[in-house]
Amino acid sequence: MSPELVRLIWAATLDSLYMVAVSGLIGTLVGLPLGVFLATSERGELFSAPLVNRVLGLVVNATRSTPFIILVVAIIPLTRAIVGTSIGTSAAIVPLTIASAPFIARIVEAAIREVDHGLVEASLAMGASPFQIVTKVLIPEALPGITLGLTLTAVSLLANSAMVGAVGGGGLGDLGIRYGYQRFMPEVMAIVVVVLIVLVQGVQSFGERVARRVNKRIRRD
């Protein structure tokens, strides 16, 4: 393997990780509160707002049902407005974030709904405000589920990031297509796949370890 190739693969790996990290982070910042709200805003719940709940649910579903590659192209004007360009690794972060936020929201919503309603009741009886119940009870109790969900998100972001080559975003997927496919270098394709497998494995086992750590519902002697 030529040093040039190693340099290319290393740069592509960093690009991929950069895209996943930034879009995952922003996606979480948007998706977490959105998920909490979706889980607590039906009629009679902590932040009862059934109409808003329904509308947000529709928006989330619409985003999630749009194929990623179409989303990437469809929001090019928006991407240009935010980043200044629609080409490159930074530009790819916009569609990646927009795709991950609703995904994270649904995962957080499901994890929060799993929390025993008795805890909300007990917290109310202790004089907690709805916001305190979210921060001190619901999110800590849902944390194992949320952690696993974020792991899932990271993996799917890695997969999606391979597609943003379509708008000139860099990263491993782009490298694989340009060198492996268009320049007939199957060994580059193979290395890209291996690197991706290693990354996914790493992310998955790290996520699982953290989830186990924050899960206090399982007895460990």
Partner: protein
């Protein structure tokens, strides 16, 4: 403040009174169920520092009643006042503030699984915005009070049911409440653990002066710790008074039959089916004799048998301890001929035994 200070209040300054007036709760009709009336015009007076039990079958309205006391349940009509503050008139912020004076424990404990015993007890203090140092100083003695100092860093999953409820009690007491609500607090526990939790509740009540309102379907709970009891049936409190009086001498028929099933005074179905209301054509009369206080230890039946030469068949018997006093209940069959005159009735009355005529058998 509507409530004037009473002697009880000055003796036990920490407890608050609970008053409900005309409490009614109607759950509107939904797709899944018709309109349900859970409470009908309930009046309740719990004195400061006492342990008051509400006993009833499931679906009788107990849960709705206790949850109305801390505003978890909004009544359709009526008012609830706790320690002089009308709960039903408060806005959200006022309600949050008042709830700190009302502790609550639950059937399924409702501990936060991601927090240790210590941090669960600290939770209501964190909600109240108390600073870290004050929290630490407050939590340790509470864990000690409930006997769990050595479990402070354990998570709920590592605790037994009884220990979880002890954490629940410590947590409920963290904000120094004037009232403690117990929602079926021992129903998920075995009999032995139930006794130890009840003993703890009684200690808390006597030691700190906290008023305790509990709901239960278990007669043993009422018998062991309640000063006064109310019987709830179909959303109404059908009878209330000192525990011993209500259980040993229920006034209404509904309370009688309900308490009968709970105390095990109900006759075996085989026998019950043979009982006839009229005496005509029968051979024996069934009487239920109630022995209260001192009379529970007297050999009254043997004396009756000797004095009147009457054969007394004992069909069912039981001795109980209710609110610290013994209570015996014996169902007997006596030949009709011995009951021609009132001499046996007079004898039993003089012996201090209550008599209830159940019916006749052939």
């Amino acid at each position: 403040m509507p409530s004037a200070p009473s002697p009880t209040q000055s003796a036990r300054p920490a407890g608050g009174a609970i008053t409900a007036r005309g409490l009614t709760r109607v759950y509107p009709r939904t797709k899944a169920s018709p309109e349900v009336t859970a409470l009908v015009d309930v009046d309740l007076d719990v004195a400061p520092g006492e342990i008051y039990g509400v006993i009833g079958r499931s679906g009788a309205g107990k849960s709705t009643l206790i949850r109305a006391v801390n505003g978890l349940e909004k009544p359709t009509r009526g008012t609830v006042t706790v320690d002089g503050v009308e709960i039903t008139a408060l806005d959200d912020a006022g309600l949050r503030r008042e709830r700190r004076k009302i502790g609550m424990i639950f059937q399924h404990f409702n501990l936060v699984s991601s927090r240790t015993a210590h941090d669960n007890v600290a939770l209501p203090l964190e909600f109240a915005g108390v600073d870290r140092r004050t929290i630490a100083a407050r939590v340790e003695p509470l864990l000690e009070l409930v006997g769990l100092s050595d479990k402070r860093d354990r998570y709920p999953v590592e605790l037994s049911g009884g220990q979880k409820q002890r954490v629940g009690i410590a947590r409920a007491l963290a904000t120094d409440p004037k009232v403690l609500l117990c929602d079926e607090a021992t129903s998920a526990l075995d009999p032995e653990t139930t006794r130890s939790i009840l003993t703890l509740l009684k200690d808390v009540n006597r030691g700190l002066g906290v008023t305790v309102l509990l709901i239960t379907h278990e007669m043993d709970v009422v018998k062991q710790i309640c000063d006064r009891v109310g019987v709830i049936e179909a959303g109404r409190i059908i009878e209330q008074g000192p525990t011993y009086d209500v259980i040993t001498r229920p006034k209404t028929e509904t309370a009688k039959s309900f308490l009968g099933t709970l105390t095990g005074r109900e006759l075996p179905p085989m026998l019950a089916a043979r009982i006839r209301p009229e005496r005509e054509g029968t051979r024996q009369t069934l009487l239920r004799l109630g022995f209260t206080g001192d009379t529970a230890e007297e050999p009254t039946i043997a004396r009756l048998s000797r004095r009147f030469g009457a054969d007394v068949a004992i069909l069912q018997a039981q001795v109980d301890e209710i609110a610290g006093k013994p209570f015996g209940s014996i169902t007997v069959a006596i030949d009709n001929e011995h009951l021609e005159d009132d001499s046996i009735a007079a004898f039993l009355a003089e012996a201090g035994v209550s008599v209830e005529r159940i019916g006749h058998v052939a």
